[in-house]
């Protein structure tokens, strides 16, 4: 919620104003939902907030990966499967080892994520097969690979590694998971966005031909977007390992759909070239908090899926209508 205020508002024309408007809007929505949740809970405490962060963390990473790819004009329907695969690899390798080994495993898993992303992007660019088809097919491959690593939910991870996301060491209202998330944003996306490579992502996403004519290496940029996506998916897989303590070959099932919902709510245009990563992160919290509120209300939490699907469609509808009015 406070993250928006920290970002320097760069008055660079209307498009940026619109973009910030969206991010602020989704933050207001999150704030309102937090108030609703606080009033719904019998006794709202920092523990409830920590649970929210734990629930939202894997989705937030999935949304960041999806957002990076969609901004560049692609889409990845294999994010969930990639998360399940990295989740299983991490849990299998970490089982029975200490924190030192766990850090090595983390680095290895992140490298695997980067390789998966590079492979996906290279196949898409080299074969000319559309993103949807390639990633739909590769989702089968990674889901199968997850089953090869772990047939049933299992594996393990050191307690210290789990504490990285589940505890709140600094302040009870500042869970470790939130710090991890902010670090990932600050270390990966925030510096990248201003570099030529970051700008190339937006350029390729908004008009591939114009980007090519301006000297942007379109193919390499698209592959890079998938590399980013793979990196964030691997972070998501690690977050799953850390928050659940184990690996599960089916853990990624919902994250593909939910990541698309989160980027749409977060103001990333499916056509590419618009939006950032902050909106999707906040949207991941919105999606997770709706489920938490339903639980507090004693409503079947499966309605969360209904609300999420409906919300996703309504947001795009509203966006479309707004655009029509602005053009008129």
């Amino acid at each position: 919620m406070t993250a928006v205020a920290e970002r320097p508002a760069a008055p660079r024309g209307r498009r940026i104003a619109v973009r910030h408007g969206w991010t602020i809007g989704i933050c207001v929505l999150l704030a309102a939902l937090l108030v609703v949740e606080a009033n719904s809970a019998p006794r709202y405490s920092s523990f409830d907030f920590q649970s929210l962060v734990i629930a939202a963390l894997p989705l937030a990473f999935a949304a960041m990966g999806q957002a990076a790819i969609v901004i560049s004009g692609g889409i990845d329907l294999s994010i969930g499967a990639q998360m399940a695969f990295t989740n299983c690899v991490a849990a299998k390798l970490m089982q029975g080892h200490g924190m030192g080994d766990a850090i090595l495993v983390c680095l290895l898993v992140l490298a695997i994520g980067v390789c998966i992303g590079a492979l996906t992007g290279a196949v898409i660019v080299a074969s000319g097969v559309p993103d949807i088809v390639v990633t739909l097919a590769s989702s089968f491959i990674w889901a199968g690979a997850a089953l090869v690593v772990l047939k049933t939910p299992g594996g393990g991870s050191p307690t210290d590694f789990q504490n990285l996301t589940t505890l709140a060491n600094v302040w009870e209202w500042l869970p470790n998971g939130l710090i991890v998330l902010v670090l990932a944003y600050a270390l990966v996306w925030a510096p990248l966005r201003r570099t030529p490579l970051g700008l190339a992502l937006y350029a390729v996403g908004s008009d591939r031909e114009a980007a090519y004519l301006s000297g942007v290496r379109v193919g390499a940029t698209r592959v890079f977007a998938y590399v980013l996506g793979g990196l964030f998916a691997a972070l998501g897989g690690l977050a799953l390992t850390s928050t659940t303590g184990i690996g599960s070959p089916l853990s990624g099932d919902l994250y593909t759909l939910n990541s698309v919902a989160a980027i749409v709510l977060g103001g990333v245009a499916l056509a590419g070239g618009k939006g950032g990563l902050l909106g999707p992160i906040v949207a991941a919290f919105v999606v997770s908090i709706v489920v938490a509120i339903l639980v507090f209300w004693g409503v079947d939490s499966n309605y969360g899926q209904v609300i999420q699907g409906g919300l996703m469609v309504l947001v795009v509808m509203a966006g479309g209508l707004l655009l029509l009015r602005r053009r008129a």
Partner: protein, 323 residues
């Protein structure tokens, strides 16, 4: 020898590009031969009948997907609509077979129409509209599973017989439904105004809109038809398995898209045929059967399945010069 093949290659390539069905037929025969090699005596009339029986639901789901993809869209809710139709039909079977089937088709029609309104009237991207719709459908189905059931849930005998029964010898009964649907669809795509407009819209939606046609009606009709196809596919599927659960057809999403893509329909719209999709569905079914014959673990099967679909799509993109 190499010089001769080199000289002959361009015309062969051109023939293949002009008639992609030849390549698909060769691929299908090659896969069947591979099955025969993996297990001698595999290719019996009985086995071919079984393959057709298994291919029918997929091919009908893919028929709806073909229509939608010809407009440049995609229906990611197809597995959920099929599941919903099949599940609700078994729940309502105590009302009589005809009513239950009509209710199932109505469910498909309703879901498809809502998709069509979202895409056609409100201009929501098909991917988002159908993804959201699928999420709503499966959510409602999960929460209110009991409300859709009156009396003991059962698959009507007629549906079961249609999906598993045989006509003469080994010819499956479902081929009647599938064949009839295919003929209607292929004729409609080639000869009717609807078909022409579908290709025109897929090729250039803006031009079609500027030409003064009501594109939104086309889109609503197309998504509604896709929903009905999904429902029919779901019925055949539940007829085959003889028990409906909430995961019945959800795994059919990728195969339905893959069958269309392998069959040569462009995901960007405007190019493609249903005959190609039929080959796509047959190839996928034989491929699945081949992987079963190899007797590898489910996980490895899944990896091979995804990789081969990817390879076929890439091969097709290369040969036909379009994606």
């Amino acid at each position: 020898v190499s010089a001769v093949t080199q000289a002959r290659r361009p015309p062969v390539g051109r023939v293949l590009a002009d008639h992609p069905l030849i390549m698909l037929a060769v691929l299908l025969v090659a896969l069947l031969a591979a099955c025969e090699i993996a297990q001698p005596g595999y290719l019996s009339g009985d086995q071919l009948g079984t393959l057709l029986r298994l291919a029918a639901p997929l091919a009908i789901l893919a028929a709806g997907q073909t229509l939608v993809m010809l407009t440049g869209g995609i229906d990611l809710s197809i597995g959920f609509s099929a599941t919903a139709a099949a599940y609700i039909m078994t729940g309502q079977s105590s009302r009589g077979t005809v009513v239950a089937i009509l209710i199932a088709l109505g469910v498909g029609l309703l879901i498809g129409t809502v998709n069509g309104i979202g895409v056609g009237v409100f201009g929501v991207q098909p991917l988002i509209m159908t993804l959201g719709m699928g999420s709503v459908v499966i959510g409602v189905l999960t929460v209110r599973a009991q409300d859709f059931v009156t009396g003991a849930p059962a698959v009507p005998g007629f549906v079961n017989d249609l999906a598993t029964g045989s006509l003469l010898g080994d010819v499956p009964k479902s081929i009647l439904l599938w064949g009839g649907l295919s003929i209607v669809l292929i004729l409609a795509l080639r000869r009717s105004g609807y078909g022409r407009m579908l290709y025109a819209y897929g090729d250039n939606p803006i031009a079609v809109r500027l030409a003064g046609t009501r594109a939104w009606q086309l889109l609503i009709l197309t998504y509604a038809l896709c929903g009905v196809c999904a429902a029919i596919g779901g019925l055949l599927l539940v007829g085959l398995t003889n028990a409906a659960d909430l995961g019945l057809a959800t795994s059919y999403l990728l195969p339905s898209v893959a069958a269309v893509v392998i069959g040569g329909t462009s995901i960007f719209g405007g190019v493609g045929t249903y005959s190609g999709t039929i080959f796509g569905a047959l190839i996928l079914t034989v491929l699945d059967s081949f992987l079963t014959l190899l007797n590898v673990a489910q996980s490895v099967r899944q990896i091979l399945y995804g990789a081969i679909i990817l390879g076929l799509a890439a091969l097709y993109a290369r040969t036909a010069g379009r994606a």
